[in-house]
């Protein structure tokens, strides 16, 4: 049996939609990591005396958190600028993330958070450490009702 054609995230593409804009901007040159969210569905269980196993029931899909880490570059061209603006907007400005593990090119899949109901719920600011020569990074978490999949065409 032939092995499947595996792929790495070498050509991964990351896009953001922040604030009141309705277009995606590619931020692959600034983003370093997209932590895959663990999507879950509500479950319930109950036990009865006459059986040894649980009665299991299932509910709705729960919201997910997508965490993204970026390289801090300063200035208004740095995606951090718009992420920070959305973060400081009263009640939270829309911040949606879309990532395509194999790249934003035809026939590849992309996953995205809601473009209307996604908000940044955690933001780690750029920090510094005199004993560390690594690039300065920041991190933000987008809370969203669901992650959807679509294919580039």
């Amino acid at each position: 049996m032939a092995l499947p054609a595996g792929m790495s995230s070498c050509a991964m593409c990351v896009q953001l939609m922040t604030g009141t804009t309705t277009t995606w901007s590619t931020t692959s040159s600034n983003m370093s990591v997209v932590d895959p969210p663990t999507a879950t569905r509500m479950t319930g269980e109950a036990y009865v005396f006459g059986e040894d196993t649980a009665l299991v029931t299932y509910g709705k899909r729960e919201p997910v958190d997508v965490t993204v880490r970026g390289i801090w570059a300063e200035g208004t061209a740095d995606p951090f600028y718009n992420i920070y603006l959305a973060w400081t907007t009263a009640c939270g400005g829309t911040t949606a993330v879309r990532w395509a593990p194999a790249g934003c090119t035809t026939a590849h899949d992309a996953f995205s958070t809601s473009t209307t109901a996604s908000r940044v719920t955690a933001l780690t600011f750029p920090a510094g450490d005199a004993g560390d020569g690594s690039p300065i990074m920041y991190e933000f978490t987008v809370h969203t009702p669901e992650v959807t999949r679509a294919t580039w065409a």
């Binding site: 896009q15 026939a107 992309a110 959807t148 679509a150 580039w152 065409a153």
Partner: protein, 74 residues
């Protein structure tokens, strides 16, 4: 600028969620789109894999990108 497509240009109905590479906008099943930017081989792959079906004659059209006014067309 109007988004009027060229006369005779085929359009397709989306059957699975897609992202138009020309605009970056996601299109849900049911949307009518212009795929004139796709090479024939690529278009065939999408049709064979059930992403689109032909929708010629549909009154609504959502072009992949704004097209220039059609000179000499209706």
């Amino acid at each position: 600028m109007t988004n009027k497509r060229y006369k005779g240009q085929p359009v397709y109905r989306v059957l699975k969620p897609i992202i138009l590479s020309t605009t970056g906008q996601e299109k849900a099943p049911g949307a009518i789109v212009d795929l004139s930017h796709l090479p024939p081989d690529s278009l065939k792959w999408f049709l064979d894999n059930g992403f689109f079906e032909t929708a010629d004659g549909e009154p609504e059209n959502e072009p992949a990108e704004p097209v220039k006014p059609c000179v000499g067309c209706e």
